[in-house]
């Protein structure tokens, strides 16, 4: 069990669109080095929480503090947080007009002001780490979904973030490509990276998570530092029903 000091603090976070409440006063703290898996039915607010943490969704009320930086409307703070927080999307979102290498080096060159040489060196190391050294000069549309997602992870890592957010990273993948992405994430988890993962891969969550959070209707209804215990004996009736349905589907 890794439990460093708090790195992300969320207090009473609220977000709604019209009548729909996505986040209904969520309070939670994430610690350095922790791997947290966030699960729950779709529309329960888990992705919205993740997107709020780097201000892709501005929240309506409450506070978010990331690594000591308060996320308010100050663009400087927002960009500072975003530089420290890597995000991996369900649909990869690689820059389609750039090669793999340029995808990875762009932000370090622009935001970290690294020279080309350093940016490329780091990018090639990361590509090797995700097993794609041979693909640095390809364009995203020449890669499979699993390869694209691994590049997306490398791209986020190139900024040397303190925290990595994964928003259903394997949901858009063909089944046979899920594992290659999970493998990279497993490797990342064991390296001590702080990771928040919204996922439907329950086996993966059970295996790598230090903590599991179950979301329903815009709030956390159950969380556990014992993933195996949670998956075997969820306490909350909604969690019980959710896990039962997933087991039936599998």
């Amino acid at each position: 069990m890794r439990n460093g000091k708090p790195i992300i603090q969320v207090e009473n976070l609220r977000k709604s669109w019209g009548n729909f409440t996505a986040l209904d006063g969520v309070s939670v703290t994430f610690n350095e080095g922790e791997v947290v898996c966030i699960i729950g039915p779709s529309g329960s607010g888990k992705s919205t929480l993740l997107r709020s943490i780097n201000h892709l969704e501005p929240h309506n009320a409450g506070r978010i503090v990331v690594d000591g930086i308060e996320l308010d409307d100050d663009m400087k703070n927002i960009d500072a947080v975003r530089a420290e927080v890597g995000m991996v999307f369900q649909s990869f979102n690689l820059f389609s007009h750039m090669t793999v290498l340029d995808n990875i080096t762009l932000a370090p060159r622009r935001v970290r002001k690294w020279g080309n040489e350093k940016a490329e060196k780091v990018a090639l190391e990361l590509l090797e780490r995700v097993g794609l050294s041979a693909h640095s000069h390809k364009y995203p549309n020449q890669l499979s979904g699993g390869q694209q997602q691994r590049v997306a992870i490398a791209r986020a890592l190139a900024m040397q973030p303190r925290v990595m957010l994964f928003d259903e990273p394997t949901s858009a993948l063909d089944p046979e490509m899920v594992n290659e992405v999970l493998l990279v994430m497993r490797d990342l988890a064991s390296s001590g990276m702080t990771m928040l993962i919204v996922t439907h891969e329950m086996g993966f969550a059970r295996e790598v998570a230090d903590r599991v959070i179950f979301f329903d209707q815009g709030n956390i209804v159950e969380q556990s530092n014992d993933p195996a215990g949670f998956f075997n004996h969820p306490a909350h009736p909604r969690a019980q029903a959710f896990l039962k349905q997933i087991k039936h589907a599998a």
């Binding site: 960009d79 890597g86 979102n93 820059f95 389609s96 007009h97 762009l106 364009y139 549309n141």
Partner: protein, 251 residues
């Protein structure tokens, strides 16, 4: 750079540019052996074609910049900026180009006498403002068509809104807008013939003079049409090659 030039589309790109130069260089030579009234006037045609291309390239480049600026203005959160961009496109698209050219030639010197523009630069001013307004609509649509996930990815990496626009949105928007932009450029090449009205000796003016001296419109006008076709074809070939070349990263 060498690697990038090895493929066929890159060759077409370079070829079209060289082709344009060659056509311009050799129009005079090619037309010279032809019988009267074309042969003796070959140099006039060649000079006219050169002016037409100069008008098109200069106004086209300025119009592209204007188009991007106006497109961004139309999407601005700042209301007066948006109004200004809307007003510009509204006026230009809603009035005849000929009127615009005459306005800058006749009315502008009356309004701002200290502004001393030659006929050529007056035409450039009118043509670039005109094509810029049409480009603005095309580029605005291109910007709107860039998937929001691309922008989210850029912002999530900590890129400022300016870098996100410059590195991600604009290059993709221009790719999307390329076919209609090429259309506007070809239209501009032909519209440059209206500079004739204010005395710019471009291709149409040149042909008009030759025609008036020779009284042979049946020969002169088709000849000019062929020259225009050669020029527009080079432009469309260039645009098509550029489109294929830039499509590499597109899904």
């Amino acid at each position: 750079m060498i690697d990038k030039l090895k493929d066929r589309d890159a060759l077409t790109l370079v070829g079209s540019v060289l082709g344009l130069g060659l056509i311009l260089g050799f129009i005079g030579t090619a037309l010279a052996p032809l019988p009267d009234p074309i042969g003796p006037a070959a140099q006039q045609f060649a000079d006219g074609a050169l002016t037409t291309i100069e008008l098109t390239l200069v106004a086209g480049a300025l119009g592209l910049v204007l188009g991007v600026v106006a497109a961004v203005g139309k999407r601005s959160q700042v209301l007066p900026v948006r109004w200004l961009a809307d007003l510009y496109v509204w006026i230009i698209r809603g009035t005849p180009l000929m009127l615009q050219i005459l306005f800058f030639f006749l009315a502008l010197p009356a309004i701002a006498p200290q502004l001393q523009l030659s006929e050529f630069w007056t035409a450039v001013l009118a043509l670039s403002l005109n094509v810029g307004a049409y480009n603005a609509e095309v580029i605005r649509a291109g910007i709107a068509a860039v998937p929001s996930g691309q922008i989210e990815a850029a912002r999530s990496l900590g890129l400022s809104s300016l870098y996100s626009f410059w590195d991600i949105v604009l290059p993709q928007a221009v790719r999307i807008s390329l076919p209609p932009l090429a259309n506007n450029m070809v239209a501009l090449l032909k519209d440059s013939s209206l500079a004739y009205a204010i005395g710019v000796v471009e291709l149409t003016m040149a042909s008009s003079r030759v025609q008036a001296e020779s009284f042979r419109p049946d020969i002169v006008l088709p000849t000019v049409a062929v020259v225009y076709l050669l020029l527009t074809t080079t432009f469309t070939q260039f645009a098509a090659a550029l489109e294929r070349k830039l499509a590499v990263g597109k899904r």
